[in-house]
């Protein structure tokens, strides 16, 4: 520990701590712009200058490590003058006229800094050099005229996301933000994760959806989780007047460390899908609006009259919904229960999960990461970011994938799976045992190995795959390598479905009635094809679709932010998704709809999913 004095306060911090972090510990506020707690110190803006006794000049506190018995002053006249001068230089460099800026009035760290210094004007006038505005990305706009060159976005893109799309072109005052080697960001390697938008301190990178929809102080922030895939990323949702304004990554969430992908951050705000506004029941003249009760009565009569019947549920449903669903339909003599799009993957997931209970950071932080059958550039993207950001530190990536897998471009070694995953895995396993394969060379110096198993694994018998993964783990462990295994387990609540025994697909041949608990999900073409021959379709979903259009009964369901629920994430932890806004009167959660169906069918339902888990599956 090193003892230093900051503004007369004694503080003891570990060696290597910067003066800025030490000051935070001591409760002393030093203004900053380029600093961000998730990013490596950079020392670009000079706003954090402090006076150090014995030092020749003012020092940037963000890059200055503590020295024993250092005496630091953060609020002397000299420091205050320097701050104002630094801010004047920044303001004079570009177009920082606040009155026509989206973030003015509380959301701009540059403006807030100037207010904090009591600046009523700029001693230096702007030089009025125009810079480019890049509006080619569908989700955000980059305005270089508002940029202060703090490079938070560039650093976030590289350090946090591992994407290295953003960079700086030119030198000094002419510097400007570019994507790749120049050209529009909309045509670049950008994956639209939006981390740059979240870290930008000024109005240089603004989110199209939330722009001009109110300042942060006018909004309410609610922490919740993303339920678009099984990772369960922590997010903060900003709402105003019962409307979602913006979604940000939760820096405190241990699983995603503040990162989100475009599906979690931006897509929920794009209103390009048509909501189902009310319940519909089909009659002689097509679908007619009805009440929920009438619609549910119609479902009950279909179950009685159009036999056999089946009920399918999405793997993005909450535990509460899955529990009610299984109470109603598992073991029901009239209705078979299954998973929408279930393909046996969930069973494999359970056996892979039992190999080692690893966290996402365990797996991605290893010396070698082996990805088996997952394209982390399209699905579970945040896991992909966490892998990619490790690569510059020397982490090696081995991919078992088909040639279409885009994520393979990051790999040190791609093992072809054109002859099947089984043979590829066997090849890898034998290569490691004989110490002959290229993989063995990559693994030779590794102390830790992470294995990620995805859902694009294909095999006639997925249990063989999980067996091979187990053998691979054993082989690596026996050669002294700490090995972590993680399965990506499909949808948000794939694990929960497995635990309720709902991990198999249903044979729909000859089925007359299908009740589809679709929620917000879209149904893939294969499933639409399968369902096309079903005479009586019931859709309980959020958005209009071709399936809903030809359904006998349609019941509108809430979006994830209109209801709350419990989910089991990729690390097998329970997470709660919170209700953010209220739905309109005619729209209910699938949980409520299932309760109404239960009443209609005369079946008493237990609303406590934890109790029902044991009774339906025999597990405790």
């Amino acid at each position: 520990m090193v003892n230093i004095t900051i503004d007369g306060k004694q503080v003891s911090v570990p060696e290597g701590t910067t003066v800025l972090r030490a000051a935070e510990n001591a409760g002393v506020v030093i203004p900053t712009l380029c600093d961000h707690k998730e990013l490596a110190p950079y020392g670009g803006c000079r706003l954090c200058l402090v006076e150090v006794e014995g030092a020749r000049t003012l020092q940037p506190s963000c890059t200055l490590p503590v020295n024993p018995n250092m005496v630091v002053h953060t609020a002397t006249e000299k420091v205050k003058e320097a701050r104002k001068f630094v801010l004047s230089l920044i303001f004079s460099e570009r177009n920082h006229f606040c009155m026509f800026c989206q973030v003015s009035g509380g959301d701009c760290e540059l403006q807030n800094s100037a207010y904090a210094e009591g600046m009523t004007h700029w001693p230096l006038q702007p030089n009025y050099s125009p810079f480019t505005v890049d509006a080619s990305n569908p989700y955000f706009v980059i305005d270089n005229n508002r940029c202060i060159l703090c490079r938070r976005c560039v650093r976030a893109c590289g350090e946090l996301v591992g994407n290295f799309t953003l960079g700086i072109e030119e030198r000094g005052a002419n510097s400007y933000l570019v994507a790749d080697l120049g050209g529009p960001i909309g045509e670049s390697t950008c994956v639209s994760c939006g981390t740059c938008v979240q870290v930008c301190p000024t109005g240089a990178i603004i989110d199209r959806q939330s722009a001009y929809n109110g300042r942060e102080k006018d909004t309410t922030k609610v922490k919740t989780i993303c339920t678009r895939c099984s990772i369960g990323c922590g997010m903060e949702v900003l709402t105003r007047d019962n409307r979602v304004v913006r979604i940000e990554g939760d820096w405190d969430a241990s699983i995603n460390h503040g990162l989100l992908c475009s599906t979690g951050r931006f897509e929920p705000l794009i209103n390009d899908k048509e909501r189902i506004p009310t319940s519909l029941v089909a009659g002689a003249n097509g679908q007619k609006a009805s009440t929920l009760d009438t619609a549910v009565k119609e479902i009950a009569s279909l179950i009685q009259t159009a036999q056999p019947a089946a009920a399918l549920i999405t793997d993005n449903a909450s535990l509460e919904e899955i529990s009610l669903f299984s109470q109603l339909f598992v073991g029901n003599s009239k209705v078979k229960a299954g998973v929408l799009g279930g393909n046996g993957f969930l069973q494999m997931h359970e056996s892979v999960r039992s190999i080692s209970g690893s966290s996402l950071s365990d797996v991605t932080g290893c010396d070698v990461v082996i990805v088996v059958g997952a394209d982390l550039s399209t699905d579970h993207q945040v896991a992909g970011f966490l892998v990619k950001r490790q690569l510059p530190t020397g982490t090696k990536l081995i991919m078992l994938s088909d040639p279409k897998n885009v994520f393979s471009a990051n790999a040190d070694l791609v093992l072809d799976t054109s002859k099947g995953f089984e043979s590829a895995l066997k090849g890898l396993l034998n290569g490691i045992k004989d110490n002959t394969a290229a993989a063995a060379r990559l693994l030779s110096t590794a102390k830790t190995v992470g294995i990620i198993v995805g859902e694009t694994v294909e095999s006639d018998d997925l249990s063989k795959i999980s067996g091979l993964i187990k053998d691979l783990t054993e082989a690596l462990k026996s050669s002294g390598k700490a090995t972590h295994v993680l399965s990506l387990k499909g949808g948000a609540n794939g694990s929960a479905l497995s635990q309720f025994g709902l991990n198999h697909s249903l044979d729909l041949n000859g089925v007359k009635t299908v009740i589809l608990f679709q929620g917000e999900d879209t149904v893939d073409q294969k499933m639409v094809q399968k369902l096309s021959s079903i005479p009586n379709l019931v859709v309980i979903g959020t958005y209009n679709s071709t399936l809903a259009a030809r359904a006998k009964v349609v019941i509108p369901a809430t979006t994830w932010w209109e209801t709350s629920g419990t989910f089991i994430n990729i690390e097998n932890n329970l997470q709660t998704s919170n209700r953010i806004t209220q739905p309109t009167d005619d729209i209910n959660s699938m949980q409520d709809i299932l309760s109404v169906i239960g009443k209609q069918l005369g079946k008493g339902l237990n609303s406590d999913w934890q109790k029902t888990l044991g009774s339906t599956t025999g597990r405790s």
Binding site: N95, F97, C98, M99, F100, S104, G105, Q111, A114, Y115, G118, T120, H121, W122, Q125, P126, Y128, P130
Partner: protein, 180 residues
């Protein structure tokens, strides 16, 4: 002792700061009890007294030679000069034209706007003021008090005027400091 005299004028601005001044409603009577209002763009007198005033208030940036003349006249006739609003303090909205040449700005305004017909031409009467780069007031004359805001809130203007009328120097900070 006679009441301090206050004059105001507007330059390259939108008159919004003067509207905000009127937005102080009945509190303007309190200001008038403390100060004597001389020339303003919204009263009869159009120029500050040749014998001088105590406080001069200017709204808007400097966008042409006429603005320069008004600014110099106000500066020479007042003891304390107040730059009122973002245009006077920073250059503001009119300064957006500095990202283009004056020729481009004039062509856009008089020829290319959708509301201009084919006979549109750039005025060239020698009696007209000559447009310049748009500047903050402080680039042309020394300014004593900066009151940013687009426009500054009526509360801020009331505070500034009442402080000046009582011979104190207003200090804008915390809740009173907004650039908008």
């Amino acid at each position: 002792m006679s009441k301090p005299k206050v004059s105001s004028d507007w330059l390259a601005g939108c008159a919004g700061c003067h509207m905000s001044l009127l937005d102080m409603d009945e509190r303007i009577l309190q200001v008038l009890e403390l100060a004597e209002l001389r020339s303003t763009p919204i009263t009869d007198f159009k120029e500050p007294d040749a014998s001088g005033v105590d406080v001069g208030v200017l709204e808007g940036g400097i966008s042409n030679t006429y603005n320069e003349e008004v600014a110099h006249k106000m500066r020479s006739r007042c003891k304390t000069l107040v730059a009122l609003g973002d245009c006077a303090v920073f250059g503001g909205i009119p300064a957006m034209r500095n990202f283009f040449t004056i020729e481009e700005a004039l062509r856009r305004a008089y020829i290319e706007t959708p509301s201009t017909d084919e006979s549109g031409k750039i005025p060239s009467d020698p009696e007209l003021a000559v447009p310049t780069k748009v500047r903050a007031l402080s680039e042309v004359v020394p300014v004593d008090i900066f009151v940013p805001g687009c426009p500054p809130d009526a509360d801020v203007i009331f505070y500034v005027l009442s402080e000046l009328a009582q011979g104190r120097k207003p200090e804008l900070k915390d809740e009173l400091l907004h650039w908008h």
